[in-house]
């Protein structure tokens, strides 16, 4: 089966991921290797077959073992190649290097990589074609390059073979000496660097290294240790800011010095690219070995300063950064800068080169830099010198902007000195240039020109926004231009956004938006075209995002446009246009001055609802109208801000519609969601705070307290109490206190809850409806808020309440969550005798006695209308009795001391009208609780209540005894 390899390989190169969807890397690799071994395939195809291995070795050989196997295969192909197949053999070497390095075979020091390295080294030793002849020179050159790459990826690999490398370099006289030089220089640099990292290494070690002719230095043990030193792979950060490790050799470093000299002498014989690379390596070596003076480069300097090659001049600049005034005098520095300026505008240079030189000016390596930062002009760059680089209309965009930026920095001082808003001559030129650009752009300027103008404007404002006369004039010009070229609206919005981002303090963007709003709204309506109107809507929508800009003008403009042109605008029912209108409205709904805009905005929305020719727009207008008129400001803001990208501009994906995407958000915002599990609970507070006394009753009581202190017991109080009992509004509520807290369910989404509304539902008819309770907020991290639940019994029986809560989470969503049922126990309905606060114990006692006797008398008469008496007995010791009585603390009328006399009197008031009176007596080892109540239906509850507490006491007693 013949395979169309060129097509397959190019499909693979185009998109490896897509290619490997239809096959696997393993199969593809096998196919390639099989074809490579096939003698019938020609060399061209085989070279092509190698390219996947050459370019994507990690895809095809993902592991060391696969890499190793592949490498062995390739080596055998290499061994069997016809000697004439030079190209193929070269490519095989490259592929082997890629595979072995990228599949970490070299790191793991596999046998294939060792063999490969030996093969390479053997080839390189055939200097001057003595054995294999000149024909295989390309192979030798490739072998050198493979070795260099191996050393680059595994620094130090050749560090013990420096003498051999040096000899090879010196012996070689063909053009290949360049390859040997590159290899030697890199190995030398890495070896010197490794020595600087060796403690106590000195002249002797350097000498030994230079004379070394041993084997390869395989990554000592772990690769990571080797590789953790970043500086091995990257050049040293040279210059005043960089810290260079040094090798202290003392004055004796003759060998190194002569080696560098000989490399420098022959540097002239290298191509510019290799020459620059060599210089770069030597600069690093000399910076690491202080014993070699940088002046060693002096002889090369003039040649380098005069060069027309960008890479050579660049390496000179880097040399200057490394050695500053130890190699470059002040004159050299001044000259170099002038050279850069003249090259930045040289007619014979290409634009990329000129731009690069301009960048070099901005990062000029000064001998004595004043500051280090991103873009700093060298001190020597005077406005006079920089005048050669003023931007002109004839520049291409990139050069123009680069010059504009550079000159802005040069003239920045002019702007600084002149804060009163005049600016200097240079600044005036830049502004003139900007306005010329604007003019050109308006005359059918291309899209590129438009973009260039806005970029130049941004640069200008970035530097000179404070120079009022220009920045204000620019606003005016931009507005005038906008009315003529409304299609530039997106650019203007972009400019406003960017200036606002970058110059937070400056109000320029706001001023521009205000001016644009004014221009749009004040322009004669008769000249308004539909196309203009579309752009206006974009601008007005952006203006509406600014809280500080009044929006009345916008609204009246929109109203007048759609009402006066209703026949065109509304009837046509253009969906996109309607969408634009709604986009403005939507932002206005969020505007801080919404209150004052309510009427016109409602008018506008209503108008759209009724007359706009597109149903979708009508629907949305109606929705907005409803939102506007029914939701609170906060909720509206929450709903509208939902998911709305911040000012709509950070969003990279511009949806077609401002409303469509938000519909879903809107629904989410307006829906009350249901939590899966209860997230809230109410926890009963143990010691309820006593209810605040009603103030009027207090004063009343005080007034009465004197007269009531008379020994006339009971009757009078009883009467007044009875009267009070009958009066409407008498204490008819019980108040229960809870803490509102989170349940154990942990969901960070509910950490902060707001506007919680608790709702309670009745399960029987014994209580009045319970009103909702509002809690402003609940944070998981803060103290839980206390909640007072007021219950109004119709009948004082225990009950169960259903509870639920509606609340808002931080993201503005509303939630509904049910709470566990709330059980109101019988004792929770108890209140102390609700007599006036000032009543003395005697007075209370009087009332007690009165009620007691009343009930007793009724009960004894057998007139079981409502009242009833009962007796509860139990066997309790003193301690338990004491505890029992303490249970009644709040309700006691008399002291515990009376337990064995008249008995300890206890009165429970149960709203609305019922009383339960107890007399607790100890009779020998027994405790008797005499019960009297005016509501006999309560007797079972009383009984079980007393049983409950005594049962507890019994268990407690047993426990304490035990």
């Amino acid at each position: 089966m013949s395979v169309n390899w060129p097509e397959r390989i190019s499909a693979f190169s185009r998109s490896p991921s897509q290619f490997l969807c239809s096959t696997t890397a393993e199969i593809f690799l096998t196919e390639i290797l099989r074809e490579l071994r096939d003698d019938r395939a020609n060399d061209l195809i085989k070279v092509l077959l190698l390219s996947p291995l050459l370019e994507h070795p990690t895809l095809l050989c993902p592991s060391v073992s696969v890499g190793e196997e592949t490498a062995l295969e390739l080596m055998s192909v290499f061994a069997q190649c016809s000697p004439k197949s030079l190209q193929l053999r070269c490519h095989l070497l490259l592929a082997l290097t890629s595979v072995l390095l990228c599949s970490s075979c070299v790191t793991s020091c596999t046998s294939a990589s060792q063999d490969f390295l030996d093969v390479l080294f053997q080839m390189t030793q055939d200097t001057n074609d003595l054995q294999a002849g000149a024909a295989v020179r390309p192979l030798r050159s490739t072998a050198c390059d493979c070795l260099r790459e191996l050393e680059a990826c595994h620094p130090g690999l050749l560090s013990q073979r420096l003498e051999l490398l040096s000899n090879l370099r010196q012996q070689e006289n063909s053009r290949l000496h360049q390859a040997y030089t590159g290899l030697h220089a890199l190995a030398l640099r890495n070896a010197v660097y490794l020595l600087t990292q060796q403690k106590g290494a000195g002249a002797e070690d350097l000498k030994a290294a230079l004379g070394s002719s041993e084997g390869f230095v395989w990554a000592r043990g772990a690769d990571s240790e080797f590789h953790s030193d970043m500086a091995l792979l990257s050049p040293l950060t040279l210059g005043p800011m960089g810290r260079v490790p040094t090798l202290q050799t003392g004055p004796d470093s003759k060998e190194l010095r002569s080696l560098i000299s000989s490399l420098l002498e022959e540097s002239y014989l290298l191509t510019s690219l290799s020459q620059a690379a060599l210089l770069q390596k030597l600069v690093e070596i000399v910076s690491m070995v202080p014993a070699v003076s940088p002046t060693i480069f002096r002889a090369q300097l003039l040649r380098l300063l005069g060069t027309c090659e960008v890479c050579l001049l660049h390496s000179t600049l880097l040399m200057k950064a490394a050695f500053t005034d130890s190699l470059f005098s002040a004159e050299d520095e001044a000259y170099l800068l002038k050279r850069l300026v003249s090259l930045s505008q040289h007619p014979l240079l290409s634009t990329p080169e000129k731009l690069f030189y301009m960048d070099c000016i901005l990062h000029f390596p000064e001998n004595r830099p004043i500051s280090c930062g991103d873009e700093n002009l060298p001190v020597l760059l005077t406005p006079r010198l920089a005048a050669a680089l003023v931007p002109t209309l004839f520049n291409d965009s990139a050069s123009m902007l680069a010059r504009f930026n550079l000159l802005s920095l040069v003239y920045l001082e002019e702007g600084e000195e002149d804060r009163d808003g005049q600016g200097g001559r240079g600044l005036a030129y830049l502004y003139d240039h900007l306005t010329s650009l604007l003019h050109v752009m308006e005359n059918q300027g291309s899209r590129e020109m438009v973009v260039t103008f806005f970029r130049a404007s941004f640069l200008f404002l970035l530097h000179f926004c404070h120079v009022k006369c220009y920045s204000e004039d620019l606003i005016q010009r931009l507005c005038d231009m906008y009315l003529r070229q409304t299609r530039l609206a997106p650019h203007l919005i972009n400019l406003a956004d960017r200036i606002q981002d970058r110059l937070v303090e400056s109000g320029w963007a706001l001023a521009l938006l205000r001016a644009l709003q004014r221009s749009i709204t004040e322009a004669p309506l008769s000249q308004l075209t539909l196309q203009d109107f579309r752009w206006h809507l974009r601008i007005l929508a952006r203006v509406a995002e600014e809280g500080e800009v009044p929006q009345r003008a916008t609204l009246s403009f929109l109203l007048s446009v759609i009402t006066s042109n209703s026949s065109v605008l509304c009837v046509s029912g253009d969906w996109r246009l309607g969408n634009g209108l709604l986009g403005v409205c939507r932002r206005l709904l969020l505007h801080p001055s919404l209150d004052s805009l309510l009427t016109p905005l409602a008018d506008l929305l209503q108008y759209l609802t009724c007359y706009y020719g597109d149903t979708d727009i009508q629907d949305h207008a109606r929705l907005y109208y409803t939102l506007l008129t029914t939701l609170s400001r906060e909720k509206l803001a929450g709903v509208m801000a939902q998911g709305g990208p911040e000012r709509g501009r950070q969003a990279k994906v511009h949806s077609l519609s401002t409303i469509m995407t938000e519909t879903e958000e809107l629904t989410t915002g307006l829906t009350v969601h249901q939590t899966e599990e209860p997230v809230l609970r109410l926890v009963k507070l143990d010691s309820p705070e006593p209810d605040a006394p009603e103030p009027d009753s207090k004063s009343h009581n005080e007034a009465n307290s004197e007269s009531n202190s008379s020994p006339r017991r009971g009757l009078e109080e009883r009467e007044s109490y009875r009267a009070k009992l009958q009066s409407p509004g008498f204490v008819s509520e019980i108040t229960l206190q809870y803490h509102l807290t989170h349940t154990g369910v942990y969901d960070p989404h509910f950490d902060k809850l707001f506007s919680i509304r608790l709702h309670f539902g009745l399960t029987d008819s014994n209580y009045e409806e319970v009103s909702d309770i509002s809690v402003p907020c609940l944070f998981r991290t803060r103290k839980p808020p206390a909640v007072k639940l007021r219950l109004k019994p119709k009948q004082p029986y225990p009950t169960t309440l259903r509870a639920s809560a509606v609340f808002t989470t931080e993201d503005g969503l509303s939630w509904h969550s049910s709470l566990a049922d709330l059980h109101v126990t019988f004792p929770e309905v108890f209140l102390p005798l609700p007599g006036p606060l000032g009543w003395t114990r005697e007075q209370k006692n009087g009332v007690f006695e009165e009620i007691w006797s009343e009930i007793s008398s009724v009960a004894s008469k057998g007139d079981l209308d409502n009242g009833a008496t009962s007796l509860f007995c139990d066997q309790l010791d003193n301690w338990a009795v004491d505890k029992l009585v303490r249970n009644f603390q709040r309700y006691r009328i008399s002291d515990c001391s009376e337990l064995d006399k008249g008995g300890c009197k206890v009165l429970f008031f149960l709203p609305p009208q019922s009383h339960v009176l107890l007399r607790v007596l100890t009779v020998e080892e027994n405790v008797q609780v005499h019960i009297a109540t005016d509501n006999w239906k309560l007797l079972p509850y009383i009984n079980s209540y007393l049983e409950d507490i005594t049962k507890d006491l019994h268990t407690a007693q047993v426990n304490s005894d035990g």
Partner: protein, 495 residues
């Protein structure tokens, strides 16, 4: 100092864009991954790279007037180093993507940022950037061919050679050389290694008669406004091109440039890397500062050892006291037609012997020309086929008075609209002069045949020549507004 990957892209004015060739260097990528650590950004597949590159170059979606990604004003292109914003997992900013484009070709490469990844180093501190730029420029020159404009067949055949070219110039991501313009896949017959080291930039050895050819070309640019308030500008730049066929591995040749007495010094001198030594005084004068009269003014000696192929030995700029041709151009709009008055005067110091001399008068933002009623005192007048350009062929000589003039009126009654130009609206218009004067330079600079020294056994034949060429020589209408231009003159390709 290596590149991670390399792309060659072709397009036709932003349309039918395609990656014609790409090359990835996985071992460099291996280093990049290690150096960048967690900040490593994978190089996407070719299709994605292409799209991102076009967006950065402002070429994507040409039919959309505004795209935030492409046109954001905040996004200042730091050309030639672009940022590619790669989306998706492993995404981030790929920087510095070097891209150069000419005509239908875009070449791009991604140099290895061989510095710790924490903060982005300045472009100027990255050695690999100038290496990448040099490599790209070299590949571009190779692909465009000798004419500087690719024919599709030539381009296709040269693209097919790329794998072999890269094997020589950049086999493993480290640029070693740039391809020779005439390079071929067949390896040249290597010269046996001798006792002297052969320069790496010398592909072979010349055998045969020694010939040294030195050609001096001077270009003059000018902006003339015919306006008292605005200073006219002109300047000169020159190049010396050599082709040396001299025997020996490292033969020595010296070329000397001389100026006439009182000639203004050569400025901004730049030399080819084969120049072996330079005198400091040659380099000192620059065009960006005023030079004093005592400055060094020659002779300028350039000792070098030549490569085999023709090369540019050196270049310079010069400031000459007068422009060779001084012109005025006046336009008046009358009765729906333009009245033209042009006069050109050849300076007396300039040799009155042209190879050609033409004045082009283009008209923009108007309909095609209808009736042309124009008279010239010398030469002849042609109307271009497109009827938007008057070509005044002045010929080989100015008349004795050294003055020629043109007068007349042009109506624009044609049916079709002519070309548009954003700059040349209303009465803003220009004349562009094209001329060549053989055997002269404006600066007076010359290479004397006898001053060329060749140190070799055989006596060489030495040929020298010089010429003056116009380049961007504009005369603006003095009755219209003209674009501001300070000292600099920069190429304007669309005119």
């Amino acid at each position: 100092m290596s590149v991670r990957a390399l792309w060659i892209i072709t397009h036709e004015k932003g349309e039918s864009v395609a990656v014609q060739f790409s090359r990835r260097y996985p071992t460099v990528e291996h280093r990049a991954k290690f150096l960048a650590g967690s900040l490593y950004v994978t190089v996407p597949e070719d299709g994605a790279v292409l799209q991102l590159l076009l967006t950065e170059l402002g070429l994507s979606d040409p039919d959309k007037p505004y795209m935030a990604l492409r046109d954001d004003c905040f996004h200042q292109q730091h050309s030639p180093a672009l940022e590619l914003h790669v989306e998706g997992p492993g995404g981030g900013v790929l920087w510095p993507m070097l891209a150069i484009s000419q005509g239908p070709l875009i070449l791009a490469c991604l140099p290895l940022v061989d510095a710790p990844a924490e903060s982005r180093p300045p472009l100027a501190s990255l050695f690999s950037v100038s290496q990448g730029l040099t490599l790209l420029a070299g590949l571009q020159a190779f692909l465009l061919g000798s004419k500087g404009k690719p024919d599709s067949e030539g381009l296709a055949s040269r693209l097919a050679m790329m794998p072999f070219i890269l094997l020589q110039v950049c086999p493993l991501g480290t640029p070693l050389d740039i391809p020779q313009p005439g390079a071929s896949t067949a390896p040249a017959v290597p010269t046996p290694a001798g006792t002297q080291k052969q320069p790496a930039w010398k592909t072979g050895l010349h055998r045969g008669r020694a010939v040294v050819n030195v050609a001096l070309t001077e270009m003059v640019r000018s902006m003339q406004y015919g306006n008292q308030s605005r200073q006219d500008l002109w300047d000169v730049y020159g190049t010396v091109t050599c082709k040396c066929e001299v025997e020996g591995v490292l033969p020595n040749v010296t070329v000397t440039l001389t100026l006439p007495p009182n000639g203004s010094p050569l400025l901004d001198v730049q030399v080819h890397p084969c120049v072996s030594s330079l005198d400091a005084s040659i380099l000192t004068a620059t065009s960006v500062e005023d030079c004093d009269s005592s400055a060094f003014s020659g002779p300028y000696k350039f000792p070098f050892s030549p490569p085999l192929e023709p090369f540019r030995l050196c270049s310079y700029t010069s400031q000459v006291p007068v422009p060779p041709i001084l012109g005025t151009y006046q336009l008046k709009e009358e009765d729906n037609q333009l009245c033209l008055t042009v006069s050109l005067k050849l300076h007396e110091s300039v040799k009155n012997g042209f190879e050609y001399c033409e004045a082009h008068l283009p008209f923009f933002n108007r309909n095609q020309m209808g009736n042309v009623n124009v008279k010239v005192t010398s030469g002849q007048l042609d109307v271009s086929k497109e009827k938007n350009l008057l070509v005044w062929v002045i010929g080989q000589k100015f008349p004795k008075s050294r003055e020629v003039s043109l007068e007349g009126a042009v109506g624009f009654s044609g049916q079709l609209p002519g070309p548009t130009d954003p700059l040349c609206t209303d009465l803003t218009a220009y004349i562009k002069l094209h001329f060549r004067v053989p055997d002269m330079t404006l600066s007076g600079c010359c290479v004397d045949q006898h001053s060329v020294q060749v140190y070799s056994s055989a006596k060489p034949r030495i040929v020298t020549s010089r010429e003056l060429l116009s380049s961007e020589y504009y005369i603006w209408n003095s009755t219209g507004t003209t674009p501001i231009l300070l000292r600099t003159l920069v190429s304007r390709s669309n005119l």
